[in-house]
């Protein structure tokens, strides 16, 4: 067929002319026309072609205002609703990456708000400033809120008026939540009158206009448009860019209400939609950039924590002192503690106390424990501790100073010299001493065996001892007690020597301290230690004349001496 066409010259000519004519009329050649026909006939190709244009067309329609977003909204909402109904997981998957951060942000914002609110309440309630402001409000007859705002904000826009330029009629207004209502209609009129008055009165500045009215801290910023003006009532000094906000608002109002403003006939209802623009102008800025650190909260928490710490420390300290007291009481001869208990803020001590045990008053004073809280329930008993047995022996057999008594495991040892009469009495009465099962008198009156009092052995026997104590406590441990007894025995020999040779030998009871730190305090402690030890020796039966407490500095002695130690030196007293 095609060949047939081509071979017919008249037809070729016709076809050529037809094409030419078509080109002239519709500007399309045959091939182009065929492509378009194919495009329309084939729905797949047509749809593909249209798909490229459709989004662009929709955008254009929206931009022109011929298609409103609002009219698309129901379709989009329906589509989403159906999609969620069909497959909710799909939407959950889509939202998942943003849900976590969103929730975290919301929680953190809420927390921040709560802290800020607590802070603000604390500040408002506690600060002396709030009292000052209340007084200011009372005196100036303004509301406390006004005073608070004026003092808290660098600037604060309380009212924004949109005023018709020609008539001075108030078209719309926005008022900050915390501000009071004004007679806005009349104020708008008066502002317009003032603006006219200024412009008429100072015609030399014809190009200018009234932009600001300032009364004290109050500024009325006026931004003029061709048909309407915006007046913002500002307390304080607004930032420079606030003027730009007003300019943009005037522009926005004119852009959206150009016709309404031009043909204004007194009806103001149509301008209610300008509120969204006017609200942008209700700005405020806090005076002090609040630090993110909630100081008042931290202050309160610190006080609470400090209080808790202090009470805990007090409790700990009280318990420690109680435990120390109980421990030392238990070590005291004639006392045996079986149980301690803390109940109803009182401290109970249960145990046994020998009839002849000494008092614990000095121990209690030393521990600085509140005695009103101490409840001692001590049952009487008879102790067979050596110290208690010796005490009983002292009372029952009453040994002369020349006799030394010792006790160990039921045996009472007597040594030294004594009259036969006393020895017989002692033998007779020894068994009345509770705890004594055997009396050993083998070393009594054995003059040949007992060394004669001689300084050669007495002095080393005294000076060999060193007692080391805690900081400022002079209390003998069990081991020290034995050494102490031996020391006392040696000192008795020194006394015998004095009696025998009419000498005045004595013992320095020396405590050592250092010059480092607080010398006075060191000295006081050392003196107390030396005197305490000397009084222990006196309690053990030594005569006062035999002892002399003395303190030496470790720096002053040749041989190194340990701090908190007590040592002894025998010397001859010179009258």
């Amino acid at each position: 067929m095609g060949e047939k066409h081509n071979t017919n010259p008249s037809e070729i000519l016709e076809a050529g002319k037809l094409n030419e004519l078509r080109n002239l009329i519709i500007g399309l050649d045959h091939q182009e026309l065929e492509r378009l026909q194919n495009l329309i006939r084939d729905p797949h190709i047509f749809a593909e072609e249209i798909s490229e244009l459709l989004p662009y067309s929709v955008r254009k329609l929206i931009e022109k205002g011929e298609l409103a977003i609002d009219s698309l909204q129901p379709f989009i909402e329906d589509a989403m609703h159906k999609s969620i109904q069909n497959n909710p997981k799909r939407l959950a998957d889509i939202l998942f990456p943003i849900m976590g951060p969103a929730i975290r942000k919301a929680v953190s914002e809420d927390l921040k708000r709560m802290i800020a609110a607590v802070n603000a309440n604390l500040e408002a309630g506690l600060s002396p400033r709030s009292f000052k402001w209340r007084l200011q409000a009372l005196l100036s007859k303004r509301s406390y809120t006004e005073i608070l705002l004026a003092n808290t904000y660098i600037f604060h826009v309380s009212h924004v008026f949109l005023i018709h330029r020609e008539t001075g009629i108030l078209l719309n207004q926005e008022i900050a939540a915390e501000s009071t209502d004004l007679e806005s209609d009349m104020i708008s009129g008066m502002l317009t009158a003032i603006r006219d008055f200024v412009q008429d009165s100072f015609k030399s500045a014809a190009s200018g206009s009234l932009d600001v009215v300032q009364v004290g801290d109050l500024n009325i910023l006026i931004e003029q448009g061709p048909h309407a003006i915006i007046a913002a009532i500002v307390e304080g000094q607004p930032p420079a860019d606030y003027r730009l906000t007003l300019t943009e608002t005037v522009e926005a109002v004119h852009f959206n209400h150009a016709t309404d403003l031009e043909k204004f006939d007194g009806a103001t209802k149509v301008f209610v939609h300008t509120s969204k623009f006017l609200k942008n102008c209700l700005q405020k800025e806090k005076k002090e950039k609040k630090s993110n650190v909630p100081w008042p909260l931290i202050f309160i928490l610190t006080i609470i924590l400090g209080l808790i710490f202090w009470l805990t420390y007090l409790n700990f300290d009280r318990n420690k002192r109680f435990n120390d007291f109980v421990e030392k009481l238990d070590e005291l001869p004639g006392y045996h503690i079986t149980k301690t208990e803390k109940r109803n803020r009182n401290f109970f001590v249960y145990g046994l106390r020998d009839f002849q045990a000494g008092t614990y008053d000095s121990l209690l004073a030393q521990s600085r424990f509140d005695s009103s809280r101490l409840k001692l329930q001590l049952e009487p008993y008879i102790s067979i501790e050596p110290a208690m047995v010796l005490k009983r022996a002292d009372e029952i057999i009453n040994p002369p100073s020349s006799v030394i008594i010792n006790y160990a495991a039921g045996n009472l040892f007597l040594s030294g010299t004594a009259s036969e009469e006393w020895v017989n009495q002692a033998i007779e009465n020894a068994y009345k001493i509770y705890g004594v099962t055997n009396l050993d008198t083998s070393r009594l009156n054995q003059k040949t065996d007992i060394p004669q009092p001689d300084l050669e052995w007495i002095i080393p026997a005294i000076e060999k001892y060193t007692f080391i104590f805690e900081m400022n406590v002079v209390s003998l441990s069990a081991k020290q007690q034995q050494q102490f007894d031996s020391l006392v025995q040696a000192a008795v020999h020194l006394d015998d020597y004095n009696n025998m040779y009419n000498k005045k030998m004595a013992i320095y009871v020396r405590s050592y301290t250092s010059r480092t730190g607080n010398v006075d305090a060191n000295m006081r402690v050392a003196v107390k230690r030396a005197e305490s030890f000397a009084s222990l020796l006196k309690d053990a039966g030594l005569r006062d004349e035999l002892l002399e407490a003395q303190v030496l500095f470790t720096e002053d002695v040749n041989v190194s001496q340990m701090l908190r130690s007590v040592r002894f030196e025998v010397f001859e007293k010179i009258e």
Binding site: E166, T167, I169, M186, M190, A193, F197, Q199
Partner: protein, 159 residues
């Protein structure tokens, strides 16, 4: 409110309007603005009333205050003939500035009819020109409310 000095403009309105500003504004910037709310034919109407300083040798009325007015009350003193002339002059100015906004001529102080200077013939001539004229007394509250109502009606009709 337009009129010569001391014709009683302020007295005419002061007991009929809501005012928050002092009369000092009139002598300082030349105007005091008051508000009058009324109900006309079941419609709430708010009139913003610009009470202008009386035109005299010391202070001329500022024409810019008239721009945008929907209507005005022209006030003259019945006991002073020259105040009619001032009113005529002011009306010419106002008519031009307000693009023929409706107005009413109020001849005030009609309670002092014995010392009346304004001749009826003058008023008749003005009425023939189409002027609305009302005789008022601020002192005895004669025809004041009516004047406001009539002006409101005229303004609404013009719109």
């Amino acid at each position: 409110m337009l009129g010569a000095f001391a014709v009683g403009k302020t007295s005419l309105v002061q007991s009929y309007v809501h005012s928050i500003f002092s009369e000092r504004y009139q002598t300082t910037i030349g105007v005091k603005i008051d508000q009058k709310n009324l109900c006309f034919n079941d419609t709430d109407v708010t009139l913003m009333l610009w009470d202008l300083y009386g035109d005299d040798d010391f202070m001329k009325m500022k024409p810019s205050y008239l721009i945008g007015s929907s209507g005005y009350l022209l006030v003259a003193d019945g006991t002073r003939n020259d105040t009619i002339n001032v009113a005529l002059r002011l009306q010419e100015m106002a008519s031009e500035t307000t693009k023929d906004a409706p107005f009413i001529l109020l001849i005030n102080k009609c309670d002092l009819i014995d010392s009346w200077e304004v001749e009826q013939e003058t008023l008749n001539k003005l009425e023939q020109k189409g002027w609305k004229i009302m005789l008022t007394s601020a002192k005895d509250s004669i025809m004041v409310e009516e004047a406001f109502s009539l002006l409101t009606q005229m303004m609404l009709e013009k719109n």
